[in-house]
Structure formats: structure tokens, C-alpha cells
Symmetry: C2
Subunit: 293 residues, 2 copies
Amino acid sequence: MTSVSVASRRGDEYTRLLVRFGCEVVESGAEIVLADPHLVSSLDLSGVRWIQSTWAGVDAIDWSQVPESATVTGLPGVFGQQMAEFVFAYLLGRSQRVPERFAAKSWDETLPGLIAGSSLGVLGAGSIGTAIARVGRAFGVTVVGCRRSAAADQMFDRMHSIDEIGSFAKGLDHLVAVLPATDETRGLVDRRLFEILNRGASFVNVGRGSTVVMSDVIDAARSGQLGLAVLDVTDPEPLPPDHPAWSVPNVVVTGHTAAHSRPEDIVGFFVENLARFASGEPLVGVVDRTKGY
Amino acid sequence: MTSVSVASRRGDEYTRLLVRFGCEVVESGAEIVLADPHLVSSLDLSGVRWIQSTWAGVDAIDWSQVPESATVTGLPGVFGQQMAEFVFAYLLGRSQRVPERFAAKSWDETLPGLIAGSSLGVLGAGSIGTAIARVGRAFGVTVVGCRRSAAADQMFDRMHSIDEIGSFAKGLDHLVAVLPATDETRGLVDRRLFEILNRGASFVNVGRGSTVVMSDVIDAARSGQLGLAVLDVTDPEPLPPDHPAWSVPNVVVTGHTAAHSRPEDIVGFFVENLARFASGEPLVGVVDRTKGY
């Protein structure tokens, strides 16, 4: 029987699911850990060989407590679908004037805008970004990606490396940031980037709050350079009640809910990785601790 | 030079575009007509061989004035993309609580619902329905179709004939009606159909108002059997200000705007058909006047 240590706000649910899959959940000494990133260091990690994160972002891990020999895995492929639903709910909600339509109680023949034929930039074109791109293409949107390496990807009409972020962003109608929190991404999305988008562009941040200069989002939304800013993640979190973002009508803050870890999804991913671990195959979603994702 | 007669509320735009494509626009005697359906019979149709409609639905044509020898074409493929944007704006708008999120000005960690894994029925699985199905699949939705003939279609997980409308609708989470107005479809969507959907299902009508029993939609929305009804088309149109639909919070009426004829799209379609007409090839989108679509 495989022994696993668990540390999570939803520990009971994980324990129940793991037991159903034939695992034994132990307090300490396990080679395998399933944990919320910020709780990893609360566990006995002396004998750990593999840590499976229950979140997509692993920036809350205290790496100083994680043995160099341990493998840490994230959750590629688990959140993309949820993120895509979130992103397109807001892009279409804006173009189709969904809030106004729900409120209207009279015959209104105002024609909606369309996203077909518009351009969407995905900043941070990993597994989540690719899921967003796939849906964008189904809607006839031109999808441009930006990531560390500019290797072509069939889901993107064009791919830029992060050094070309200016060429990437120039003239975009929609910008979606899906960046992890690292030293390199801190404040990467700022007024200079907003200024080269098409006037009135939509901006959606589903990555991490630290990657965006909050005051620059607010200024760009107030000036109309951004027609809409949807911030699922903010800096800080939660956003305090007196933060200026709350007073800007075209800034929508959604409380870090765009994708949530559903224990059944996480355990499904974990169990597939566990089969690989048992047979000595490479794990899926290995985090590079020097990159931080 | 090809001579075309035009009758449209947007006649000036069509004339300008047709001239750009090398056509001559004439008042009468043309073999080819480009017209809004309700204006077809305002033209001299004595020598007409081909009538291209500028709308998707051709039910407003006065067929008694159209020579039996004339071919009438609709616009398959032109409106699907627009309709898909409309449908998913509302399905996602509901699951993601977009109107509430736009209004909320405080940190709210309520998790959104997801459409991935839910079931969507497309009643009237023609070219528009297929475009809706394509996007549904990109979102991981199970898409079931219903049409005159139950021939399998790769965009649908399952296809039913109209005789099996009960099996089609049973247990659906979302029902989208894309039916043309014909004698057979009049009042086809009624309380019996709503009752076999999953409780709280969403219903979207982007076809024709006459296909739905308005009072049954209102009752089903009031009772909660329908969680949301989005009526782009109604019976009558426009819906009078004193109609009971306006007073039901979960009924949204969108003023027949889900898809609109953009002259550049229509003329693009027309010009491709014109090349076929000139070379004697079969036209695309030929309407069967006995069926009415």
C-alpha cells in the first residue's frame, strides 16, 4: 500500500479520495506528499521523494524546506478548461453587453459586438494558455502567444519570446495574462504594455497579482485605454475594501475564483502520476525550482 | 457585366458593395435579385432566375409572388459564428455570474459553475446549430442534436430525428432552439419539452419566436424549471411593453440581435454563389420552398 502525507485546507476530502484509490494516509515519514503549496513546509519532509501540489501556482512553497532531491509537480492540464470558461465569459459578456441585457426590461435592438476576427494575446502560453487559445480559435479569434521560448505551437497563430513582448502586445484587442509569480514576471504588465494595445482593449489577469502593476491597470481603465480590466488575482489579496480599484466601473475583481482545485480533479491527476512514480517513469508537471513553475 | 436588382433596408450599402464587385444594379428585369425577404415581392420578378436572401430566415418571403422556376438561396455558414458568440455569452454569463460580478464591488470568493461536462441540446441542427456545437465541444460540453433527419454528424455526440424530440431533450442542462418558422415547428417548444429538461436548465431561442409557446416559457422560468430563458426572438416581435415576460427576472429578451446581416458578409457569400451561377454549378444554400428553409 502506498503511503502519502497530506496537508491541505481540504485535507479530509483528499484523505477520503486517496483511501478510495488504495493509498494509506500517514502523518509523517512518507516518500510522497500531496499538499497545498503554503502548507508543504508544515510536513515532515525528511524522507520525501515527490511532492504533488494541489494548486496550479507553486509560488507559496517554502523551497528552503524542500530537499534538493525531491521532485515537485504542479497540475498542467487541470485548470485550463476552467480558465477558458472564465476568460470567455468576460470577453463575450462585454461584447454582448450581458450585464446590460440582464437588467434591460424593454425591447432593445442594439447590435452586439463580435470577437470573431479580433486578436487575443496570451501572455504566459503554457498549458492553461493553450487551453484558452484552443477556445479562442473555435470562436474565430486570432490568438498570439508569448512565453520564455518562442517555439511555434499549433494552437497559436503566432508565438513570441518574452524578449519580444512589445511586438507581441502591439495592436491586440484582448490581453490575457496567465503568468506565474517569479522574480522575472514581477510587474511585467505595466502602463507601457497597456499603451501599445488597441485603444479600448480588454485585459484579463488569471495568473498572479504580482505580475501586474495595479496602479497602472487602474489608470489605463480610467483613461479608457483599457475598455475593461478583469482581475481575478490582485496585489495584495484579498484587495482591501478601500483600494481604488473598487471605484473604477470598468475594473471587475473576481476574488481569485477563475479556477479552483476540485479534489476529484487533483486526485485524478495525482493517481496517474502515482502510476508513473511506481513504475519509475518521468512524472508529468515537474516544477523547475530555478524557474519557479 | 452582371445585372442585379436590390431591395433592402440597407440598399445603398449593398449597391455600393455590388458595384465594387463589378455588378450593375438595375431597377427591373434582372435575372438575379438580392433582397431582404419581406421586400422580395416589391421587385419585378418576371424574369428572375435566382433570388439571394440577405437574411438567414426566409419565412417573410411572399412565395406566391416567386416564380416556381426561380431558385432562392439563404445564407448557410454566415450566421453560425455570431450565434455561437451569443449563445455562449449567456451560458457562461450565467455560470460565471457575470452580471453580479460586474456589479460587485467587494472581494467575493464564490466559486463559479462550469459548463464543461454539462449537456447542450441543439434543436434544429443545421449550419447555425453545427457552429454552436463546434464551440460547445471546445468547452468540453456534450452536444446533442435534433433535426429532421437523424444522420450522424461529427460535431454532435448524438443526433436525434424530430420524432425523437423527447429522448433528445430528456435530462439536458441547456437547450438552444435554432428552428426555422414553418407550419411544423409552430409551438414545438412547449411545457412538455421544458418539463423533461434537467431542473434549472437554461433555454436559449435564437431561431424564430413562433416555434416557442411564450406562456410556457414564462411559466417554466417562474417555477424554476428553467433557471434562465434567453429569448432573442419572440412572438410577437417586438414584444409589447405590457407583455408578462418583462416581469420575470430570469427571462432575458434581446431584441432579435443575436445575428445580424452585415452587408460585407452577405455580399461575400453572394459573390461566391454568383461565380457558381455564371458557370452553371449548383448554388450553395438553396431553399426548399416546400419546407420553408
